[in-house]
């Protein structure tokens, strides 16, 4: 009789979510470790100031874990997390506008990052970051979910409570505008 193969694959998100709901803190930590970097990339792409990125990532996870009962598995956990991140970023933008600490649109342009890295960033990339700020929130989110995160339209539509057709239209509008800006 052959020995069973050792189980090497990671537990799926749903399993970790259930474990967290049962009080397993390690499961929550594993979910953070699994999704923090893509979330940070998404937030940075959407205009989050680099100096605030850590806090925004944390806040997104806190909101997600507190509202995890509302997650019905209509999309992937990461996709759901990214949409929460979009809301966290929007709230941050409002707070910043009220307190005038740092306008949201200065985040990607300058921020508190290494000046050398900013110098290395290509002009096209900077233009793209600037162009994304000119899009509507929905267009920006659809574009980032599709182009940056590589999601299918069905997945994007489920996360943003729209239809795949509408998501496709938003993406193409975004691409058209960004092409104009970047060129």
């Amino acid at each position: 009789m052959a020995n069973p193969l050792p189980r090497t694959e990671l537990p799926p998100d749903a399993e970790l979510i259930a474990a967290w709901q049962g009080g397993d803190e390690q499961a929550a930590a594993e979910l953070v470790e699994r999704h923090a970097r893509p979330l940070a990339r998404y937030l940075a792409g959407a205009g989050a100031p680099e100096a605030e990125l850590d806090d925004l990532v944390q806040e997104t996870f806190i909101r997600a874990f507190r509202g995890v009962d509302r997650f019905r598995g209509h999309c992937q956990f990461r996709t759901w997390l990214l949409t929460i991140g979009g809301n966290v970023l929007k709230d941050f933008g409002r707070r910043s506008a009220r307190t005038r600490v740092m306008p949201l649109d200065e985040g990607v342009r300058d921020g508190a990052g290494d000046p050398h890295d900013h110098a290395v960033a290509s002009e096209a990339e900077t233009l793209l970051a600037e162009g994304l700020k000119l899009l509507s929130r929905l267009q920006r989110e659809v574009f980032l979910l599709r182009a940056q995160q590589g999601l299918e339209y069905e997945e994007i539509a489920a996360a943003l409570a729209t239809t795949p057709g509408a998501a496709r239209v938003h993406y193409h509008h975004a691409v058209r505008r960004l092409k104009e800006i970047v060129q």
Partner: protein, 133 residues
Amino acid sequence: MTEERLNELARKLGTRAAERVDVEATARRVVERLREQPVRRPIWVQATWLRIAAAVVILVGGAFTLRQIWPGATPDDHVTYFIADDLGDLSTDELRTLLTSFDQIIAESVVPDSTSDLQELDAQQLRELLREG
């Protein structure tokens, strides 16, 4: 600028900033914050049920109170009001007839045997009986 080039740029967007995020430290802080401020779902549920119960009590109590104080809330009240208002104009026979009808309509269960004694009452006693009823 092609769409492919745009997507390529988008995939790079935010990569450097994200690499600076200390994932393990973030996980530790998130868990600490969740521990310090746990989800208070049971209390929320309890508060919600209390609100619903309070709303039901207010609605039922309000409806009961309105029913008690609203003039003419029932047909019986209408009958009583009009009878009492015009008692002074009625003769003894009319009062007996009225009282009999009144008993048939609304008070058969309350004063079932009263009609047998009506013949022995005078007009004043009938008026008093009607007013009390």
